[in-house]
């Protein structure tokens, strides 16, 4: 890989940023804390620093290998679709998310000011603040931990892939022939287990940062408390006159990207490459704020007020009945 020459001023600037980011990362090492006092964590991915070396991809794979599925063959064919998901013989695939590849690096080329700029984008679960995948899991197999990590429990997931359908980025990936559905009605119900980045939850609870953060040789990924990372991302965006992705998307996430190129342009380039289809394992970067699991405020209010309205109506009805009967008897 060809290295660009760096000016002295640029070197000093980058060193300062890397130092600041490092200090935050060191300061923000997760610790064992009770859920009530637990701080939420986040990461900032600085696209101006990512060289696309895929160190994060390999580190993620090594770190999480013990969580990868070992399916039973032959994989049951799902009725009535006649399909099934099996990535067990394609474990080395790196150009898309799979049950064996939880991090990918996407590369796009964008024409700006007459020059083609190459942008590398490490991608994995965004760990949403209000994760639709966890909220809408019909079996409670997908939950958000106090640290902010969204984690799928492989022992209770049935692989219905609803989490993939409701994830704005289609992140979770299914492996058939493994999990609870094999003990119930394989082929008829469910279809395996969904897998995705869990923010290296086992490392977070052990007081360590996720493997991708530690592995990046360019300091492109910074990990810290949510508050610190948001602050850092804003500072960095201001510094490069750039943009942030992930702070508002889907109502806010724990993975913030910073780029000097607008994310709408990056998204466009990703879609041109075939990203964006929920089942492609290649997420796009749509800019949006709506969260599919957020019910409109008036619906939630109606639900909260329903018991009270019931009690009140019962009271009024009973009062009317009593007074009507009372006046009837008086008239009699």
């Amino acid at each position: 890989m060809q290295q660009k020459k760096m000016s002295r001023r640029e070197f000093l600037r980058k060193s300062l940023i890397a130092g600041a980011a490092g200090a935050v990362a060191l300061h923000a090492k997760p610790s064992h804390a009770s859920p009530n006092t637990q701080k939420k964590y986040a990461m900032m991915i600085d696209l101006t620093k990512c060289t696309g070396c895929e160190s994060c991809v390999l580190a993620c794979r090594e770190e999480n290998r013990h969580k990868f599925p070992e399916p039973v063959h032959p994989i049951p064919v799902n009725w009535p679709t006649g399909k099934y998901d099996d990535w067990s013989d394609k474990r080395e695939v790196r150009d898309r998310l799979t049950p064996y590849n939880w991090t990918i690096v996407q590369t796009v080329e964008i024409l700006r000011n007459g020059q083609i700029e190459k942008i590398n984008i490490p991608r994995h679960c965004m760990h949403c603040d209000n994760p639709p995948c966890a909220n809408l899991c019909p079996f409670g197999a997908n939950t958000q931990t106090p640290e902010g990590a969204v984690v799928i429990d492989d022992s209770s997931c049935l692989g219905g892939a609803k989490c993939q359908a409701v994830c704005p980025w289609g992140i979770p990936q299914r492996q058939g022939g493994v999990g609870l559905y094999m003990k119930i009605a394989p082929g008829l119900l469910g279809g395996g287990v969904m897998y995705k980045c869990d923010f290296c939850h086992h490392r977070l609870t052990a007081g360590k940062v996720p493997a991708c953060v530690e592995s990046c040789p360019n300091g492109a990924i910074t990990f810290g408390t949510k508050e610190e990372i948001i602050k850092l991302a804003r500072e960095r965006a201001k510094e490069i006159n750039g943009y942030i992705y992930g702070d508002k998307e889907n109502g806010g996430t724990s993975v913030l990207y910073v780029s000097h190129i607008p994310f709408s342009e990056i998204n466009e380039a990703l879609i041109k490459q075939g990203a964006g289809d929920k089942k492609s394992g290649k997420p796009a970067m749509p800019t949006f704020t709506d969260n599919p699991s957020d019910a409109p405020e008036h619906l939630v209010k109606s639900l909260a007020l329903a018991p009270l309205a019931g009690l009140l109506t019962a009271g009024i009805t009973a009062y009317k009945t009593f007074t009507r009967e009372g006046s009837k008897h008086e008239n009699d």
Binding site: G140, G160, S293, A314
Partner: protein, 236 residues
């Protein structure tokens, strides 16, 4: 035909609000599993929306609000008016057995109050499941609010109990409908869920204890007989 008033307007409304909202909740809850796409339900004419989780969730919430309203209204009304006719009593299990046995063997069944013993047991069964569904549903809605994350074990427990109690309620509704399909005798009660009235002849034959109770109230016999007269309608 002489008819007697069995249900007031609010009881009929509550029954149908619960029925309508529960049916909506079953369907919108069922397609959350997720089954609409997998089993081609969304390809059926007019059901393409069944695979839209965001829409079916909103519909689920709306129906849940109607059901919660109806259940709280029902419970509070019964307590305020001290109407515990539907509450299970001691000996209901044995009496239910005798009634069902009579229905099958076509022999006279034991005299019943306003409700049959098995109706009181069915009510308790349904009420327990409804209570569990509403309670766990509330936890699930709360969990979905932005900024709220609950203990994963609690989420799993609430979700699993919600699913199990919904399944049990479904079985209960199936049995409820089966009771009318299988036993002709029970079908006499159907008009009461629309007009509030049942035939006096049927009530005298099957619910003599109820009629006796209305006629001869120990506390205020005169007043009660007056009410009894007011409850009988001659509908030719």
């Amino acid at each position: 035909m002489k008819m007697i008033k069995r249900h007031d307007f609010s009881a009929i409304m509550t029954h149908w609000l619960v029925a309508l909202s529960t049916f909506t909740l079953f369907f919108t809850g069922f397609v959350q599993l997720p089954v609409a796409k997998r089993y081609f339900i969304s390809t059926l004419p007019g059901l393409s929306w069944s695979a839209d989780y965001s829409f079916t969730l909103k519909l689920h919430y709306l129906a849940a609000a109607v059901l919660t309203f109806a259940l709280f209204f029902h419970l509070a009304s019964k307590i305020i008016t001290r109407d515990f006719d539907l509450w299970p009593r001691r000996g209901d299990i044995r009496e239910s057995y005798l009634i069902i046995k009579s229905l099958i063997t076509k022999k006279p069944e034991p005299p019943s109050d306003k409700y049959l013993a098995e109706q009181r047991l069915a009510y308790a069964y349904m009420a327990f499941n409804f209570l569990l569904i509403v309670l766990t549903g509330m936890i699930k809605v709360y969990k979905n609010l932005p900024g709220i994350s609950l203990n994963p074990k609690l989420v799993w427990l609430a979700t699993t109990l919600h699913n199990i109690s919904s399944f049990l309620l479904g079985l209960g509704i199936f049995a409820h409908l089966l009771a009318f399909i299988l036993f002709r005798e029970n079908r006499n009660l159907i008009p009461s869920m629309f007009t509030g009235k049942v035939s006096l002849e049927y009530a005298e034959h099957r619910h003599p204890l109820w009629l006796k109770r209305i006629k001869n109230n120990d506390n205020d016999q005169q007043e009660r007989s007056q009410i009894f007269k007011q409850q009988i309608f001659d509908e030719g």
